[in-house]
């Protein structure tokens, strides 16, 4: 998505440890009109997949997911992060390791909001090693729902998450793939 690449080049800040900060439009301040345009792009990419539900994870996935959901006209469910492992039998629970924060956290969704009739589009803001997405895939498997696609705003193509997920057959589409991330140089993968 050309506009996302332009936004990253104009507003993104590169920090040590392969961190790309896009706080001005995606992770702290939100640009709603641009988020809606990202939603339209996800719709263009996945509109034939008969999506019944969009799944994301708090916090940063929510705004993009809800904009896409407005266009798909389906509900969003966001996985909640919890401090303690919740073993309530009414929930699907899993674990995610965060490299950015160097700790493991628990995630959960209520069984009420995802079941074996659902055709799921997973949406998130970033994909690097793929740990958060892996956690969401685990929850969908518990629910016996079907993953129809995975939509990412910004994929770090130099980390292995995207490559592995595609090799496993997931229909993963990223609106921008960053192949090189340096303070003075960001290189994007050319996509069709």
């Amino acid at each position: 998505m050309d506009k996302l690449e332009k936004m990253i080049l104009e507003y993104g800040e590169v920090r040590e440890g392969n961190i790309l900060k896009v706080d001005s439009f995606l992770n702290h301040q939100l640009n709603p009109v641009f988020l809606y345009q990202m939603g339209e792009e996800f719709y263009r990419l996945f509109k034939d997949k008969e999506i019944t539900k969009i799944l994301t994870i708090e916090v940063s996935g929510i705004a993009i997911a809800v904009m896409a959901a407005l266009i798909f006209k389906v509900p969003v469910v966001f996985a909640k992060k919890t401090e303690s492992l919740n073993l309530d039998k009414d929930i699907y629970a899993g674990k995610v390791f965060s490299y950015t924060k160097n700790k493991e956290y628990n995630i959960m969704i209520s069984k009420k909001y995802l079941d074996n009739n659902d055709k799921v589009l997973i949406i998130d803001d970033f994909l690097a090693e793929g740990n958060a997405i892996r956690g969401l895939i685990d929850l969908t498997k518990q629910s016996k729902s079907q993953i129809m696609g995975i939509g990412i705003a910004i994929e770090k193509g130099f980390q292995k998450g995207g490559k592995i997920l595609r090799s496993e057959g997931y229909d993963l589409k990223s609106l921008a793939i960053v192949d090189e991330l340096k303070a003075d140089h960001i290189k994007f993968r050319i996509q069709q």
Copy 2:
């Protein structure tokens, strides 16, 4: 807002401790079309206030705020909750006491995204004692921005937050005000 009252009566679950769970459309699963309608209602209520920015707090405020912002065509800034008190000089920082979780947490926003030129609409999902809103007001005061209004989805009218904020002169509008909350009976305040 009649439709919000209907949604609360149909899908809300009353729990001990004056908890009203609206997980099916607002706090875990999100109904994007209905959230957009809430955004339209906030626009109707505050459209003459020359709003330049919508301020909310993670997590539950984000989806409503971004929908309203899509209609106002202004950015959202969401205050982040942090475990440690961050004394970075580039941020506005404050504290919020959560009755629901019985603990105090730190909140922050980057100075980049709020300043003395901003006319702010604060939006949040719930108002009870008003602690989260008080924290957001504190951050806006630090930024010297101007609070033009406060928009709440669901106010618990039997708790004192709303009454105090109105007595201080804030233009506070709630889409639904719950005056009585019992498992078998929810009573709404009649509003114009």
